[in-house]
Symmetry: C2
């Protein structure tokens, strides 16, 4: 449901919020956690606007908010957003609406002055993990991705028979979810024997990214109490960008029969800003499912989800190598697609997660699974772009090519929503750099 916070004509007195291409418009107001750069202050919640962070701890103490926005702001000012997420939409919306009014150019000069006193330039903020991730689940909901990868692993039968019946998922590792900007070592591990004798052991030779989005659970649920689709919609706080780094050689050796483990759990990166579901409302689109495909079972189906369960978020991935950096070049874009092409919606994912009784906790992170679009150049992972490592992907800036990621490669995901008649809503970026493997000997 659209409201005044979605008015594309509304402007902020923070001038940068109106700059072309600015992710953090007045209509966005994403939440994150930060400290002042170089300080030893306690991390606290903030909201991005233009080129500024609004410090929610300062704002909560400013006297500018009334209930229930003030109480919500106190919670959102905490060192993680978990407690704020646990409050539910009845608290999220009043705070967002109050922030919109305070930051709108309609606000009087005296109020603007007081709000400005609670701000810090984004360039002086060091972002922190926005959430203590209690549980992390990763879905597998792009049919294009499933078919692309399936062709590499099971050419005779790329799509498993369950794919069109339920949003497939597995449990990921919560402890190794890190903030954008954190480097990680190329993992060591075993891979499939090539000579049918001994598995290889050593640094991953098929290191990959996975272009994903993440979403966070708001209020917790109880063990044994499933969520309907409509309840599920109300339990989603917001979304971020996510990179589910993957060691394909390790993964493909270990995953039979229980799924990926070390091939995934060495690192998962998320972007620092969480865009609220309310901010994304204008970009809801109909759920694309051909009439000839199986239709969802009743617990995964309702009219609202069909009409507007998907989101049109433009997504891009770029790779910047050591050579790019040596030549002061930006990274090269290697893929671009939209989140709208997923086969299952985020509400369906959450309804599926709870249908057997599994309980959710505030701050639980859900990954959407790799997001690949309908054409080959819209694929969300190197293993697809390079067709299982058989076709080089070019980095035109330096003339290099890649089959998989090399040491020093920095991968950046960007995402935003944009269309005529609506304000731009951006996610910022999710970045990570591959560091050389630890030398653990021949092991």
């Amino acid at each position: 449901m659209l409201n005044f916070t979605h008015d594309p004509a509304a402007q902020s007195w923070v001038a940068a919020a109106q700059s072309p291409g600015c992710d953090f418009t007045l209509q966005n107001l994403p939440f994150g956690v930060f400290v002042r750069e170089g300080s030893d202050e306690h991390p606290r919640g903030g909201v991005a606007i233009g080129d500024q962070v609004l410090d929610l701890a300062h704002l909560a103490a400013s006297g500018l908010l009334v209930e229930p926005a003030r109480a919500a702001c106190c919670m959102a000012a905490d060192s993680t957003l978990n407690a704020f997420m646990a409050m539910g939409p009845e608290s999220w919306q009043p705070l967002r609406h109050a922030l919109f009014k305070l930051l709108s150019s309609n606000t009087d000069a005296a109020t603007q002055e007081k709000v400005r006193a609670c701000m810090l330039p984004l360039s002086q903020a060091t972002m922190k993990m926005p959430v203590e991730v209690r549980n992390y689940t990763d879905f597998y909901t792009s049919q294009y991705h499933a078919v692309n990868v399936g062709r590499v692993m099971r050419p005779e039968n790329p799509l498993t028979p369950n794919f069109q019946w339920l949003p497939i998922a597995y449990h990921g590792r919560a402890s190794s979810v890190v903030l954008s900007g954190t480097g990680f070592r190329r993992p060591n591990g075993q891979s499939r024997p090539t000579d049918n004798q001994f598995p290889a052991f050593g640094p991953c030779r098929r290191l990959d990214f996975e272009l994903e989005m993440g979403f966070f659970v708001g209020q917790e649920t109880k063990l044994g109490e499933p969520l309907s689709l409509s309840q599920a919609r109300g339990r989603i706080f917001g979304m971020c960008l996510l990179n589910d780094w993957s060691a394909r050689d390790h993964q493909f050796w270990e995953m039979d029969p229980l799924g990926p483990f070390l091939g995934k759990n060495f690192c998962t990166s998320i972007s620092p800003w969480i865009v609220s579901m309310e901010a994304l409302e204008p970009y809801r689109v109909a759920f694309e499912r051909p009439a000839s495909d199986p239709q969802p079972l009743p617990y995964l189906d309702d009219a609202t989800d069909r009409a507007s369960g998907s989101f049109d978020v433009h997504l891009e991935v770029s790779v910047q190598s050591r050579q790019h950096r040596a030549q002061h070049l930006p990274g090269d874009r290697i893929t671009a697609t939209s989140f709208r092409h997923q086969y299952w919606t985020i509400a369906q994912m959450l309804a599926q997660h709870t249908i057997g009784g599994c309980n959710l906790r505030s701050g639980d992170l859900m990954g959407t699974g790799t997001i690949s679009g309908p054409t080959p150049d819209e694929a969300g992972a190197m293993v697809e772009l390079s067709v299982g490592g058989t076709r080089p992907v070019s980095l035109p800036g330096t003339g290099e090519t890649r089959h998989f990621l090399e040491d020093g490669d920095s991968v950046t995901i960007k995402g935003w929503c944009e269309k005529p008649g609506a304000a731009r809503i951006g996610f910022g970026e999710c970045r990570g750099e591959v560091l050389p493997a630890l030398d653990v000997g021949a092991a």
Copy 2:
């Protein structure tokens, strides 16, 4: 390494600790978290001895302990054992040794009186979750189990080629790990289409238990820093009993290609008492691996692990149906085996978990995977005992039979170590009851 706390002749002034079959001997001293029954007190750490709980909060304040045992006792008195686990063996051992001396019959009468004032009968204690489970990983390390289940799923090739090369594992769901005694609803979900058209939806028809042990991580590790086998041994705080309830029909439909999800995440039960690794020392046994099998890669192999990496823990499972309870009968034992038959040791599991750089947190729970012994009546799950649901398992007490679990069935795992020349070390029990499914309609 054995020390004075392993002396089988040592006795406690708590008389029940010497009763035949008592799990909680002076040589055991397992840790748990409890409240006084019916009180609204804050949960706190305790140690079981005979038929008593020693209240660690009271003991810490009693003046009976000196450093470093006193500081360790303060931490162990917390509402979860996570902070105590994080202290490491340098704190665990002094506290255990001090408790042993205070509870030994060599202690003077005045001290006994003071310690007795810190005690509560076990019958008046309500046990609580001993740990905030941050991450839960479940391994798959019984070759007998892997072959038994593999025969049902892949008759032509029951053991996957990776099994003898690495301890296979997947990430489980931390939020739904519950304490022994907690009932759970039979899960609803999808299962494989039988007519090659529509998947079935409804209550699980192949509900199973899995006999497992669990172990807990002590000090955390850093992202990117693997543990050697010898470091891994020092990171394990202790062990418990674990039941990884499984919905086989849901699991077998959903798990291709990413592994079990809803088939497992509706409930996992653990026993309330955690037996320290030091208490288990006398029951270490050599790691059984035929010389004709592949030998472990160097990072999964050392002389100590080969000589004494396994543990001889006797394990039993019994089922008590509604009919048993109506007739005031105990449950019938349906299987018994030993933990010593696992193909991989717990140190190998932890070394494998970290080899790619995945970080561990204090209180992380690891499941060993289903524990099945060499003979068919030593199998650790109904799917094996009933040979995929084709052969009835009898409950002689009532004359009933089972292929899988029925509503009202209560499953109890018991475990203990016993042998000539060593004191009995018991785990107590891990129990759970199947409640009827929630009616979610035809969905």
